[in-house]
Symmetry: C2
Subunit: 339 residues, 2 copies
């Protein structure tokens, strides 16, 4: 059986802030059956993840050379349902999570894809809080930052998909946690719903150094960086001896290749600071431990799940573009189809 698969592609490389007009909805003939002898899997996409880092692969020169090609299907983390399978690891009707596409259907060789047991939780959770965003927060915070109870933790983009979970993990461990975000509504959410000790709006508190001095009178032990540039500079200025910086993202630099953090190396030396970049794919070994602990936290209400779900393949471009304007609160997801 053949259908029309609608998928979202870029029209041309994007080197600045992405706009909706940079994208187009493509149509392709798509077979829902497997060729004899093929090990491929045909997936009906249900939920796809919207992540800012994708923009780095949309540039003329993609990050680490991994480039998204104009007109072609864009890979994305997501949840789907198997329609047909030539692969013994997957059967028709299975839920799957992993590498699918910004489209209505995906074809996969099973690479970076696994069978999903929803464990009675909403399917969308397995993209965000129990997906790569969650693992990023978990691995980055626990493995890179090596936090101890009572330490002080600063999180930028704290209402984002990763930041909100870093703050919640840190609170569970007994840290003092301050987040920054870009609107009064987000700040309120961080303090009142997610249990952050303090939060501030970086668009109002524009003297970041003073803001951090105020919120961290005893200095910052850990900075979980999602934004880069001036926020990183201010965090380094306010860091304690043996401070740790997990560099998870640098959204302020993604769309402006001239924007960089100017690092005060003397502080880095004298305060023995470690700055470490990381990519979640290196931490898949932590996945079982991460899921087990996080499900427990969710079930007893110790982690609050923040989702921001848009509907329909045609809303992928606006969902993605909006992330660069701070439109999302929590994990941004596009629901492609009903189960």
């Amino acid at each position: 059986m053949e259908v029309i698969n609608r998928y979202v592609a870029i029209k041309a490389p994007i080197d600045g802030v992405p706009k909706e007009s940079d994208f187009e909805l493509m149509n392709q003939k798509f077979s829902l059956s497997i060729k004899r002898g093929s090990k491929e899997i045909i997936i009906k996409n249900l939920y796809v993840s919207i992540d800012p880092y994708h923009v780095n692969q949309m540039k003329t020169t993609g990050a680490l050379g991994r480039t998204i090609v104009p007109g072609e299907v864009i890979n994305s983390y997501g949840v789907g349902k198997v329609i047909a399978s030539g692969n013994p690891r997957f059967a028709k009707g299975d839920y799957v999570v992993g590498n699918i596409s910004w489209g209505e259907y995906s074809i996969s060789k099973g690479f970076f894809l696994r069978k999903l047991d929803p464990m009675g939780l909403p399917l969308s959770y397995h993209i965000g809080v129990l997906g790569l965003s969650g693992l990023t927060a978990y691995a980055g915070f626990f493995d890179i930052c090596k936090p101890k109870r009572g330490e002080t933790v600063f999180v930028s983009a704290a209402s984002g998909s990763v930041g909100n979970l870093v703050g919640q993990y840190a609170k569970q461990l007994g840290c003092y946690v301050v987040g920054c975000a870009g609107s009064p509504k987000k700040v309120k959410l961080l303090k009142e719903k997610l249990g952050f000790d303090e939060a501030f709006n970086y668009k109002e508190d524009t003297d970041l150094n003073s803001a951090l001095q105020r919120y961290f009178p005893n200095g910052i032990d850990i900075y979980f960086d999602n934004v880069g540039a001036q926020m990183l500079e201010a965090a380094i200025s306010n860091m304690n001896l043996y401070g740790r910086v997990a560099v998870c993202g640098a959204i302020s630099e993604y769309t402006d290749s001239e924007k960089h953090a100017k690092l005060d190396m003397l502080s880095i030396i004298y305060k023995r600071i470690i700055i470490q970049g990381f990519i979640t794919h290196d931490y898949m070994n932590l996945f079982p431990e991460f899921v087990s602990k996080t499900v427990d936290y969710i079930l007893v209400g110790k982690i609050h799940v923040l989702e921001d779900v848009l509907i329909g393949i045609e809303s992928v471009p606006s969902a993605f573009v909006g992330v660069f304007h701070g439109n999302n609160v929590g994990k941004r997801i596009v629901k492609i189809a009903d189960d």
Copy 2:
């Protein structure tokens, strides 16, 4: 018995590049005998260490608040001989190494001072190759950079007191080593005498990014940074996945508070780079292992000792100032007195 102790002091805080006229030779009455009941040690200084990081404590606001006060004695690593001691750990006639002063005599409570067995080697070695410079190279390279045989290593200020040893340790381990320095003479020395695979003059090869591309066609695994700023930027650009940067010094930033490395955080994330500042005092636990291995290397000629010795307390200011103009080759030391 009382003598006149001549010592070097700063006239006022120094916030830019130090000049000889920023210093003065002071005279103080100095007792060579110990007060009854005192645990102090009186030391005749023999050799004192000249290190660029001292300038950070000469500023109006010293690094981490440790400020050198105008007119007062300046502490420095060095070797001396005990003239009188009320401290049971030290006896008259002992050689000592550790915290003494930029002067002819020192008085010590024994803090950061130990009895020295010269092991048949020149006393000056115990300030440089077997002193803090050596430990800085050893701890920074082995503990922070975690090198493996066959990895590629870049060292800046490679003919300096620390850099030359990092390169030599790296060669012993079987790494590919490239150093940069500031004169043709130094470059020649690195390649012909110290066994660096390659070396270049950053004052001639001013396009640092191209220079590093040329010398590291397969990228840099380890960068041992003594200079900061543009050299660090170029090293990050040429770094491999899982690259490590040991931030030992940032001499180009010490005397220019506006000069900073603009770090490309995207590279740091995608290449999973670790940047770590360190202070040698944290690694005193490695001292016995470091000395034992390094003495062996020296005795069999596998480590070449590079010293740059000036004579007399009055030459301390010019010795120190010269370091900021690249005048030294290897460990800069001032010999204060004959044994």
